[in-house]
Amino acid sequence: MIGGSKTPLQDTILLPERIGDLTGLGEFGMAGELIAMFIAAFIVGNLMLAMTGVAGPWAKRKITAAFTDRYAVNRVGPFGLLIIVADSVRLLGKELIIPENADRPAYDLAPIVVAGSAMLGFAVIPMGSGIHLADPEVGLAYVFAVAGIASVGLVMAGYSSANKYSMIGGLRAVAQNVAYEIPLVVTGMSVVIFAGTLQMSEIVAAQAETLITVGGLDIPMWYAFVNPFAFVLFLAANFAEIGRNPFDIPEAPTEIVAGYQTEYSSVYFVLIYLGEFLHIFLGGAIIATIFLGGPAGPGPAELGIVWFLVKIWAVFLLTQWLRSALPRVRIDQLIEIGWKGMLVLAFANLVLTAIIVGLLETDLALSMVIFA
């Protein structure tokens, strides 16, 4: 039952083509295809923005409040949902204050780079229900690459703000991202070894098979179950990469005020903040795709997007749970954990995975017997 159909996803049509077919734009050659692509990108972009920019902050408040025995927003609209509108008006209506000594082009570009890099990542994520913008053969590498651009945005923000707290925050962000990008990618590599491909749809498809059947319940071959060690490692590296507790060192409000975003206000602040939320959700999307079977779940394949969103929100919930319970580590401890711990473990995991996969492939029939 789990995993819906066994049809590999690459057989389904990507969203731009589908839009092209539906609207007839596909018949207008290149120009039509281009327009169809824009429409598709617009839809996906708005979906993600609605989730992160609109639902995210509201949900974050509610979740944090639950952990701390409070109510959070409950005055404006049902469940306080209209606070989103009020917040938008408030944030957009504020004066945009730009520090006198700000390094202008960099200062203006940084919020866009931060938010944009995360948006780009969603392009190759198969979200189920046919929502999949592009499916390049190097999908996973592409996601890591564009997500990594955010570090540049953060250091731009930190450096150009002409504020010492921002500066420290920016430097911390870079040190942290460099230290954790490598374990992150190396751990991701172990999945690639399993799946034998970098293409996102293939990785998802590879997880559709049944790993083991317990009491009539099929446990799918999600890589989180196949290699829980890599999953935990990837989660930890991901939290450091997106700067969430216990690794929220670049912001560290009690130490360096707000790190690289100290000097940002109004629309720029919204963009930076949005970028952060997008990165949390992009991190969740990557985890869902390469470890949790992407859009797979019980029920018809059309429900794919629902399952996909559930998985992303589960990761988001986890970030908030950790935030409530774990202190922040210190920057030197973080770097130490990154270079001396995570990196070693990531490579160990990679080597082990390679050996196991090698063994499995030489004796596939035998392994099938064991797993069955």
Partner: protein
């Protein structure tokens, strides 16, 4: 690692038990103790204009104006300047000034918080708690037996 998991278990337990400790203020009015000290109430009928409250006040919150016959003319109290120490009530020999439980007052400027004697008289009781009653056991030393009903309105 065990410690981390224990911490996470504690917060999750709190998240799941659904207990909230926030008081949803305007709908749910907080319970204040009978001894709570809020805005003053003043009774001109009882006041003998002895000025003890004015003298004892640590930060000159009370201003009393009398004519040359020592008849009271004004009784002004800056409730924004008051530190709610209750010394005025404590020294008053006739219970002419007392602190109600009422903490709900606003003003647009600090001048709005200067109450004259009419405003002080019309301060409402909070949840109909009569503070005099709750503090009575301790007041014998100052006033002895009261003389009849206290009328602050």
């Amino acid at each position: 690692m065990i410690g981390l998991l224990k911490s996470m278990a504690v917060t999750m337990k709190h998240a799941l038990d659904g207990n909230k400790f926030t008081v949803q203020y305007p709908e749910e009015t907080p319970d204040v103790s009978p001894r709570f000290r809020g805005v003053h109430k003043f009774s001109q009928e009882r006041c003998i204009w002895c000025r003890q409250c004015e003298n004892v006040c640590p930060n000159d919150t009370i201003q009393i104006v009398t004519d040359d016959q020592r008849n009271g003319e004004q009784y002004n109290l800056h409730i924004g300047q008051c530190i709610y120490c209750r010394l005025c009530e404590e020294v008053c020999p006739v219970d002419a000034i007392l602190l109600t439980q009422n903490f709900e007052f606003t003003g647009d400027t600090k001048h709005d918080l200067v109450y004259n004697k009419e405003q002080l008289m019309s301060v409402p009781w909070y949840k109909d708690i009569d503070p005099l009653e709750s503090r009575e056991p301790d007041r014998g030393g100052w006033i002895g037996e009261g003389d009849g009903e206290v009328d602050y309105q």
